[in-house]
Amino acid sequence: MRYLLALLALTIALPVTAQSGLPSAPYAHRQLDDPAKEADARALMDELRCLKCQSQSIADSNAPMAGDMRSQVRERIAAGDNPEQVRSWLIERYGDWVTYNPPVNSLTWPLWFAPIMLLIVAIFLARGRFKRRKDKS
């Protein structure tokens, strides 16, 4: 009975599972033959957001759209684009939302400025502490 049920569920599930294997995204689940280019593509995919998911990169998402985007990235890299060109092309299409590596611009400068500020404050705090001690001793 269990076996039958499993089979039944399978036949229902099959059309769903077959969808993401559409020929439109040949490289969704296929690596590039050139290892150096694949490494470039992989590094870039890790930094691109899957737009249909909740905080996942396209490199680790099951969503069909992530598969399409993986394929696009690999195809572009294979065609000779460098990763930054591919990234800017995707940003043009989907906006800054798509990249986990936020570009530095009028909107994001505080983000990049903050770590430096924090470190300066930390060093200042530490210095102040020690100096006082030295003066007193």
Partner: protein, 645 residues
């Protein structure tokens, strides 16, 4: 009736918390010391009642009582018992009830066991604990009643998210919550000490076990969560810099800083104000961790407005608690002297550096997590902040931090000489340099961060044991061993992280039955696909064999599961663990030629990440036990000495 009993118990517990707060406050303000006798029993009764309420909710989930709305929304009658139980806290209302139950139990624990603090400090501590509880009770009773009934009673429930049906995740939330609550208790102690101007070694010693305990649970919770994400999500990633993960990392960072500075306060009576501030920050971060994750605001600012009552409530509670904590600190910090002094090159100096760097990392994670929300809220623009930002901004600081971690324990308190330190640490420095040289020579394409991380880890692994040099191993106190094991755990985890990010090999293939795939030294054979059925799911299971070199042939079965109740699919990765890494095999979908996607990774030494995490937690546990045992021993000696006089 059972659900109503649970609700009544919750109301009573809430009333007791309010009474506890009122009696403490009146007693303190009006100097009515006779009120204080009632505080401990009330705290204990409050803990018992809220625990009963929580257990009743668990019971409703076990019985699959479909007349209760929460059970309907989050459970289903056909499901393994353990996931019925864990379903209790796999949802908003239930997890908030678990939170407040743990807080109640912790309060009862203080009432039962805390004997060293001055009475007024203890009473203030319990007042703060009650005040925090009251907010949670109000939130539960007004905005998210877990015992709400549903009519008409549906035939069956909607099921628990299949991703959450996993032993790792069953234990993950309670572990983190115990950590969060522990930090809120530590904060309650800080309030007690601040208000009664009692900030000193005694207060630090009373607070320290709670900080250590909270830290141990947070460490375990984060480690377990990371491993869960690694094997359950099916893509082999172990840390995503996801806002939800960051929300658990931030309290951990603050707790790590706090547990180091509380030692300075307990041992040397220094860093008083700084320790108090870290207690406030750690508490604020655990509140943010709890509420932001629960409110849904982290996914999008707009998700916050889905339920305006809850959103508003959460914001108000956050404002009251964090604002209140900051206000108490700001009002009292002026009266707190920083305590005994020290020179830059000293154990205290290293601990100050530890604190500042941890705080800097905390600040970066905080800004990186919340800045996208801020931008979205202000201008409506959507930006993403992820791994590239966090790795770049926190990575170098983290490396400096672990280098100081190696040196700190070798420094003397108060004052030391830089030259003497260099002498003591010469062997680890040599090992680091040699490792760096070897790695540059023999590896290709390692990122700078991984390269430095791996080299430093080699040196730290040795340096962490250096405090035992020329010491009587049997007389070395347990908490020193705890520190050594925790620091060694950091080195172990660092090796795992650097190795995983540098040496992972990936193969994505479309395979037909009978195909062989080679990954590193592994021969992976895809034999067949078969349908199977579990208690509440059906699956396609791949029969795969894997062989490392000429070793034994292992059978593994990666699955693709269908959960009919929830209409979702999950992939169950198959993992093969060797001493030097893990083989990770995932079954994907089939293509039109009838081939199946297989994702195969060989991840050298990846398991060290979580072994490291477990070692860190174990170190904390040893330190806690060692400190508690020493406290008990000293108390006995004191009593004995008093008896002699």
């Amino acid at each position: 009736m059972i659900a109503e009993t649970g609700l009544i118990a919750l109301w009573l517990a809430a009333a007791l918390a309010l009474l506890q707060f009122a009696l403490c406050t009146i007693g303190l303000v009006k100097g009515r010391d006779e009120f204080f006798a009632a505080i401990r029993p009330i705290a204990i009764a409050q803990g018992v009642l809220v625990t009963i309420s929580f257990l009743i909710l668990v019971w409703l989930f076990i019985r699959s009582d479909m007349s209760v709305k929460l059970v309907v929304m989050n459970s289903v009658a056909v499901k393994p018992l353990i996931y019925k139980i864990s379903g209790t806290w796999g949802n908003h209302e239930g997890s908030m009830l678990l939170w407040v139950a743990i807080l109640g139990i912790a309060g009862a624990g203080i009432g039962l066991f805390e004997r060293t603090l001055k009475q007024r400090t203890l009473v203030t501590t319990l007042a703060a604990q009650a005040f925090i509880s009251v907010g949670f009770y109000a939130y539960l009773l007004i905005a998210s009643n877990p015992f709400e009934r549903i009519f008409p009673v549906p035939a069956d429930g909607q099921g628990l998210n299949p991703l959450l049906q996993d032993v790792g995740l069953a234990l993950h939330p309670p572990t983190l919550y115990i950590g969060y609550v522990g930090l809120s208790i530590a904060f309650s102690f800080a309030v007690g000490a601040m208000i009664n101007r009692d900030v000193g070694p005694d207060f630090a010693k009373a607070m320290r076990p709670w900080v250590l305990g909270a830290w141990v649970f947070l460490t375990l919770g984060i480690t377990a969560g990371s491993y869960w994400a690694y094997y359950e999500l099916g893509w082999g990633g172990w840390w995503f810099w996801d806002p939800v993960e960051n929300a658990s990392l931030m309290p951990w960072l603050a707790a790590t800083a706090l547990l180091h500075s509380v030692n300075v306060l307990a041992t040397r009576d220094g860093l008083r104000a700084w320790t108090l501030m870290l207690a406030v920050v750690a508490f604020s971060m655990s509140m943010i961790g709890t509420f932001l994750v629960r409110s849904g605001v982290l996914t999008s600012v707009h998700a916050f407005a889905v339920d305006p009552t809850r959103g508003g409530f959460i914001l108000a509670l956050l404002a009251i608690y964090i604002g209140g904590a900051m206000a108490v600190f700001a009002l009292r910090v002026g009266t707190v002297k920083e305590g005994s002094q020290f020179e830059p090159v000293s154990r205290e100096g290293a601990l100050v550096a530890n604190n500042l760097l941890l705080s800097a990392i905390l600040g970066i994670v905080f800004i990186g997590t919340l800045y996208p929300l801020f931008v979205e809220g202000v201008s409506g623009d959507m930006i993403s902040v992820g791994a590239p930002y966090f790795n770049l901004a926190t990575g170098p600081i983290a490396l400096i931090l672990v280098a100081i971690m190696a040196a700190g324990p070798l420094l003397r308190w108060r004052r030391d000489k830089a030259k003497a330190l260099l002498n003591r640490i010469s062997i680890p420095i040599f090992i680091t340099a040699a490792a760096l040289f070897g790695l540059v020579l023999f590896t290709t394409s390692m990122s700078t961060l991984s390269l430095l991380g791996l080299a430093l880890a080699a040196g730290i692994a040795v340096a962490s044991f250096a405090p035992l040099w020329k010491r009587n191993l049997r007389r070395t106190p347990m908490h020193t061993y705890g520190m050594i094991i925790a620091h060694f755990g950091v080195a172990v985890a660092l090796v795992g992280m650097a190795s995983e990010s540098s040496f992972t090999e990936e193969k994505l293939v479309a395979a037909s039955p009978g195909d062989e795939v080679i990954v590193n030294n592994w021969k992976v054979n895809f034999l067949a696909i078969e349908p199977i059925a579990g208690p509440n799911w059906t699956a396609l299971e791949a029969r795969v064999t894997a062989q490392y070199g000429d070793g034994a042939i292992h059978q593994i079965e990666p699955q693709n599961r269908m959960f009919p109740a929830a209409q979702t699919q999950t992939s169950e990765a198959a993992l093969l663990t060797r001493w030097n890494g893990q083989l990770y095999v995932v079954l994907g979908d089939s293509d039109e030629q009838g081939r199946w996607q297989l994702r195969i990774w060989w991840k050298p030494f990846v398991t060290l990440i979580w072994y490291g995490g477990v070692l860190i937690a174990l170190g904390g546990l040893l330190a806690m036990i060692g400190r508690l045992r020493r406290a008990v021993r000293q108390k006995r000696q004191r009593e004995y000495a008093e008896a002699l006089i």
